[in-house]
């Protein structure tokens, strides 16, 4: 059975949200589309949006393919997603607070203790530690896939340092420049207030001891990081300093940045640096990227880190499978967004099923990310499967398995013209002291190869502008 198509569903008739776009695609001559496509690439190169891919020599600056055909969500679809996202991220924040605090959920036997305490992303330093205003995950990127008209699944929660939001913003800018006529035929919810919303969120969680004008900075690992472009882009849009570890220092448990006018106090750090690297005194001693003593200042409550330290305990793939129970436990509600059915290989029955059905399943390492280290059963050859079988048997706890989903497709410009390609969606959820903010839309990632289900940019995936109709 062919996958559900965002434009034509399964029946082949155009869905209401795509009426105008479909009509336009029928009218526009192929060479015009092709010309605009090339123009988009030139614009991206000029702006300098590049993306580094680890492990490839001489490719430190590469462009992510951009597809000019937008992905459209009806207003009703978005409202459902929005409620689901708010609920999920609220539960995630309560869960992290509980794990580092009272541990009710562990005592109730809902999430296994060893899964938390033996997890490398669990940070004992955070035990009993209060964080400003009880917010742990200020910025979450939740990966969502769709399998039919009514079913959205959460594929993954990113609660550490989710990236990609600069593409959401730049994709829209480029589309506005290239296809004004298309915009005039739709009412599309804007996304360009994201930087304002992000800044409001970050300022809302400043420590109580900070002034009424808290100093917010963005901490980057530096120019060699794959997402450096995004860091500098966001700092610029937010109007905040883009700092590296060496720009900061700690004195009397207070964080300062070195400026041309002397030391200036820092209140909130939007850090795009993993826990491991933020403080060589607390975590990896070999890290030259962090700030010695940052954890002590954080623990003294003098600075807010966004996201908090230790949030990995919520987005780990092994914890993922417990998320529906986590939502029920903390909010007493049924989860609005479903999880993909998941087999936990740590459980014997599940493991047996997975080993018997490897050819049909997607098997993922629980601590992996970015599409590395996974097995896609249906497209893997025998050797790869038997290799994975051995890995699974050796350390079943390290793996989960899921059915191969028929991810929805969306019309996409390819060599041969316009063809359906699989997509996912990463909306960005902002949690402040006051409220949860979600800019309508998100980043749509698209697998550019025919039949491919891997949308990660590190594996050649592309992006699309995402439209939420204001209907």
């Amino acid at each position: 059975m062919p996958a559900f198509d965002e434009m034509t569903g399964t029946e082949g008739s155009v869905r209401p949200a795509y009426t105008e776009l479909s009509g336009w695609l029928g009218e526009v001559p192929p060479d015009v589309l092709d010309y605009r496509r090339r123009e988009a690439e030139v614009l991206f190169r000029r702006i300098g949006i590049t993306f580094a891919v680890y492990g490839e020599a001489d490719s430190t600056e590469r462009l992510i393919p951009f597809d000019v055909i937008p992905r459209i969500l009806a207003g009703s679809e978005w409202r459902l997603l929005k409620r689901g996202l708010e609920q999920r991220v609220k539960a995630i924040n309560l869960y992290i607070k509980d794990v580092y605090g009272r541990r009710d959920i562990l005592r109730a036997g809902i999430v296994p203790e060893d899964l938390v305490f033996q997890n490398p992303v669990f940070r004992p330093e955070m035990n009993g530690q209060k964080v400003p205003h009880d917010v742990y995950v200020h910025i979450a990127g939740v990966d969502i896939v769709r399998v039919d008209a009514d079913t959205f699944y959460v594929l993954e929660d990113n609660a550490r340092t989710p990236s990609g939001v600069s593409y959401m913003l730049e994709n829209r800018e480029i589309m506005l420049r290239l296809f004004p006529e298309l915009f005039s035929r739709h009412r599309i919810a804007p996304v360009d207030n994201y930087p304002d919303e992000l800044l409001a969120t970050l300022r809302s969680v400043a420590p109580d001891s900070s002034t009424s004008e808290p100093n917010v900075v963005l901490l980057t690992p530096g120019v060699y990081n794959s997402a450096y472009y995004e860091h500098s882009f966001l700092a610029d849009k937010l109007g905040i300093e883009l700092v590296e570890g060496r720009d900061l220092f700690i004195k009397d448990e207070i964080v300062y940045m070195r400026t041309t006018q002397g030391p200036k106090r820092v209140d909130v750090i939007y850090r795009r640096l993993d826990d491991d690297f933020i403080d060589p005194l607390a975590f990896r001693p070999d890290s030259a990227l962090g700030v010695p003593g940052l954890m002590s200042s954080y623990q003294a409550g003098n600075v807010t880190l966004a996201n908090a330290v230790g949030t990995g305990i919520a987005d780990d793939k092994a914890v993922y499978s417990y998320m529906p129970e986590i939502v029920k436990f903390f909010l007493g509600e049924e989860p609005i967004l479903k999880n993909v059915p998941t087999w936990r290989c740590r459980e014997e029955e599940h493991l047996a099923y997975v080993l018997d059905n490897l050819e049909q399943l997607v098997v993922k390492e629980v601590h992996g990310s970015g599409g590395y280290g996974m097995l896609i059963g249906p497209s893997a050859d025998k050797a790869t499967i038997s290799e994975f079988r051995a890995k699974l048997k050796a350390a079943p706890k390290n793996f989960i398995a899921q059915p191969t989903l028929a991810l929805s497709t969306c019309p996409t410009c390819v060599e041969s013209g316009i063809a359906p390609r699989h997509v996912d969606l990463r909306p960005f959820v902002l949690s402040g002291r006051d409220e949860v903010r979600i800019v309508p839309g998100g980043l749509t990632r698209v697998a550019m190869k025919q039949g491919s289900l891997v949308v990660n940019s590190s594996q050649g995936g592309g992006t699309k502008d995402t439209w939420v109709l204001d209907d």
Partner: protein, 313 residues
């Protein structure tokens, strides 16, 4: 602003200026070396180019002899020489990338475009003609970058730091030429060379793009002591020490005004400017041209260090 950002801007400007200077030296040397030896005198122009670039020690660690091939490679293309034209552009672009948002689009385009173009030149020229084109291109790239900064940057501390980089580097460069060639610039009575040195004097002027200016200022044929006067004391000459210090003081004062605080950098720079304003060429010759220049180079370095301490660290 962040000290690191200011530091990056300052060095970005310095490296671009240095690349241009190296191109000028190489161009002047190429020209001088093509003059028949009996006319130009028996000196090794290529060795003197290395000295003028201030990297004699590093050079002779790698090469036995200074000739067209080795000097061209070392000063223009060597990735191992941190002050080769290539290295200057590479470092400039790395600095630019680290402070992208502090640059205007035009400045980024200029430096990024230069860096992309540099790759086309590979590991060196295949012919003298191509090398000449390369040297012209380097100077044009610097003009483009400098012009972009001048015409598009907001007049705030970011701008003043780039200007400081330009003028400190330029002052150092002009002083180094004088330091290597001072023996050619002594007053008539003391001068040991002959009229053949004309080519040398013209080459000095060319390396600071001042041959035409010279004629406009003095309306005379090239005299060595006037060359020294032009490069040291003439404020209207854009690469003179006096002009550089006028600009350094102005930009430091703007910074101090904006930050509401004067510091040692301002005091020291004013001291150097005052000394230049109150000097006359005959006095400098009397006290010793060489000593004067060496002192200047030391002061200029000290001010660079103090700016770093005061603002960039």
């Amino acid at each position: 602003m962040l000290s690191r950002t200011a530091d990056n801007l300052y060095w970005l400007a310095r490296y671009v200026e240095r690349a241009e200077y190296l191109a000028r030296i190489l161009e002047a040397t190429q020209r001088l070396a093509s003059v028949p030896i009996p006319i130009a005198g028996g000196t090794n122009e290529w060795e003197s180019a290395v000295a003028t670039a201030g990297c004699e020690n590093a050079f002779f660690e790698v090469y036995e002899e200074a000739n067209e091939e080795t000097v061209t490679e070392f000063l223009a293309f060597s990735p191992d020489n941190p002050s080769s034209i290539r290295s200057c552009f590479e470092v400039a672009r790395t600095n630019a990338r680290a402070v992208r948002t502090a640059l205007t689009v035009e400045m980024w385009d200029a430096i990024n475009g230069t860096w992309l173009e540099l790759k086309r030149y590979g590991n060196g020229p295949t012919s003298r003609e191509e090398f000449s084109r390369f040297l012209r291109w380097v100077q044009e790239s610097s003009l483009l970058f400098d012009g972009s900064a001048y015409r598009t940057m907001l007049r705030s501390d970011s701008y003043w730091f780039t200007r400081l980089g330009v003028f400190l580097e330029r002052a150092d460069n002009t002083a180094r030429i004088l330091d290597v060639k001072y023996h050619l610039l002594l007053p008539e009575a003391e001068h040991v060379g002959g009229p053949l040195d004309y080519f040398q004097w013209a080459a000095i002027l060319r390396s600071v793009s001042a041959l035409t200016s010279y004629h406009w200022v003095y309306r005379e044929s090239v005299k060595p002591w006037l060359v020294a006067d032009l490069l040291i004391l003439k404020e209207e000459m854009p690469r003179s020490l006096a002009n550089c210090y006028e600009n350094i003081v102005t930009n430091l004062d703007k910074m101090a005004g904006s930050y509401g605080r004067q510091g040692p950098a301002q005091r020291l720079a004013r001291g150097v400017r005052t000394r230049l304003q109150n000097s006359r060429m005959d006095e400098i010759f009397q006290r010793g041209l060489h000593e004067f220049i060496q002192e200047f180079i030391a002061d200029n370095n000290r001010i660079g260090g103090i700016i770093t301490q005061q603002y960039l660290a």
